[in-house]
Amino acid sequence: MLRIGAYRVFVHMAVREAMAFRAQFLGSLYLSGLFLLLSYYLWSAVYGEQEELAGIHIEDMMTYLVVSALVQGAVIGGTLTTLGENYVSGSIGTELIRPLSFPLVCFARTMGSVTLYLILRGLPVFLLGAILLTIQWPAPTATIAFLISLAQALVVYFLLEFTLAQLTLFTETHSAAAQLWGLIVSFATGSLIPLPFFPDTLRAILFALPFQSMFYTPINIFLGGTLEVGPITETLMAAGLPSILAALLCQTIWIVLLVPVAAGVWRFSSQRLVVQGG
């Protein structure tokens, strides 16, 4: 049975911890804004005089950047590092003496910090970008679909990060897993470069992987489901679903597939877990 109340304290604690470092928070808010500005200049230069590249119109591209900044604001929080430090220092021992599922404790924590970052960092940058870059707002139904998709994206983010964090048990330091994760978030999810810009082979691989669910899928839904999609979504569309619903469902399918993977990897790694220290 899932007992939500027992995990509430971890959501609460994650929010508190994220708020504890105000200077760091303001600094990262500034950097997020600056990053959006730089992406704007970069992509303006890439497009130059052209209206459309890789099937994406310049106006859609600007919207893409602003929505991406919203999600980035939520997920770039370094929870993998925290998790890794837990393993390396042995403080995971104090988590395991409680009658709680460790993956769910981590999920509660990630949801706490991600929600806070989404509201306090993602949203201000998003709103500023939306005003300055005059983005394309979706229709009401697409907006609702986008919000669901955003929530699903954060769940996928947790599932992938938690699974990858188990690598720490084998490398005995968390920096390797954290770097790999950083690379994946930057390039495989479509957060910096929309997937249609990748060369054919790489694009085919990335569209067949779950990473797109974190950025590319919610952004595509925000844009009304007009972007190129992967094989699962295509199959769903061929079966007659509208593109937005198909994209949403594809994300759900990935969650359904990733939950047992994360649970299995945890079961395996908990057997090998050596809680360090006396």
Binding site: A6, L96, P99, L273, V275, G278
Partner: protein
């Protein structure tokens, strides 16, 4: 699933845990070789086929030098580490397979590492733990009030844990370990780093909960006073093996049977010879005598001296338990190294 009252709270049979330790080659060259050629692996038996049990209402001491296997044993008993072989049952359940069910019924105090949230106050911690352990609000209120009273937490209930003194923090940790009314406590060096008064306090709290609520415990400590005061039985572990298992007192008879008798005589004596004991020093009117407590009693020796001399005062000294244990560890090391 229910445990019968006459059953053990904790029982282990041939419990073993092996670790693979990577040897690090010395120096920069060694580090590069380690990176290229793979590391040298060494198997270490942290806990080596130990069997023991803890009964209901009992406090058992687990003592041994650093690195003896105490923490590893506690980790296996609490279900956070999987044994390599052998079996361990906590409340009759496999603690690793059924960690959540088992964790509901025990509490843990790590003296070296707090399980509290640093930014919360004690009061907030109890509210949070009441949620974690899903206590009824009324039950939680009662229990919190009881613990605040019993442990004297009233003065610093609203101070963030990070600002508490070590003694205050340990008291909060004990309260946090008890809020869900566990049947069993793992006390891993609960008095480490505390001053004499605080240590005595912590001991009396543990005694109190043991008497008042029948909470049993497995206690590790390097302070033999803790063990003497609290434990009916000790397990002495070194290098993953038990050196001794039983009450503390016979340990002294076995490893330090000799006593010292110090006598103050009315007039000085020279060349005192005794049948029952050995004279090890004469300083003016004071005579120090060593005897074997297994062969005779202090009264026998005193009687023999008093037959020929007038004894003004006397005292008997035995080896402090710390030194008895040190001798036991040393014996273990000697046996291992074949000395």
């Amino acid at each position: 699933m229910a445990v019968k009252s006459d059953e053990c709270v904790l029982s282990a049979v041939d419990l073993t845990r092996e670790f693979i330790v990577h040897k690090i080659r010395p120096g920069l060259f060694g580090a590069i070789r380690g990176l290229l050629g793979g590391r040298e692996k060494k198997r270490v038996l942290a806990v080596d086929r130990i069997s023991f049990s803890v009964g209901k209402g009992e406090i058992v001491g687990l003592i041994g030098p650093n690195g003896a296997g105490k923490s590893t044993t506690i980790k296996m008993a609490s279900g956070i580490l999987k044994p390599s072989s052998g079996s361990i049952r906590t409340f009759g359940l496999d603690p690793f397979q059924e960690r959540i069910a088992v964790a509901r019924r025990y509490g843990v105090v790590f003296g070296q590492r707090s399980q509290l949230w640093w930014s919360l106050s004690a009061r907030e911690t109890f509210l949070a733990l009441a949620e974690v352990y899903e206590l009824e609000p009324r039950e939680a209120r009662q229990e919190t009030a009881y613990l605040i009273e019993a442990l004297g937490l009233g003065d610093f209930l609203d101070t963030p844990v990070r600002q508490l003194s070590l003694g205050q923090r340990v008291r909060c940790d004990i309260a946090a370990a008890l809020i869900h009314r566990p049947e069993f406590l793992f006390l891993d060096e609960p008095t480490v780093g505390l001053d004499v008064t605080a240590k005595a306090q912590v001991r009396s709290y543990i005694e109190h909960f043991n008497r008042d609520r029948g909470v049993s415990a497995l206690l590790t400590s390097h302070d033999m006073v803790d063990v003497e005061r609290l434990c009916s039985r000790v397990l002495v572990i070194d290098n993953g093996r038990f050196l001794y298992e039983g009450p503390l007192e016979p340990l002294r008879d076995r490893f330090a049977p000799e006593r010292q008798l110090v006598l103050d005589l009315e007039e000085s004596v020279e060349g005192l010879e005794l049948r029952t004991a050995e004279v090890i020093g004469v300083d003016g009117l004071r005579v120090e005598i060593r005897f074997d407590s297994r062969a005779c009693s202090a009264m026998d020796v005193l009687g023999e001296v008093a037959a020929n001399h007038t004894v003004v005062d006397f005292s008997v000294k035995e080896l402090p338990i710390d030194e008895v244990i040190a001798r036991l560890y040393q014996d273990g090391t000697d046996a291992r190294e074949g000395r």
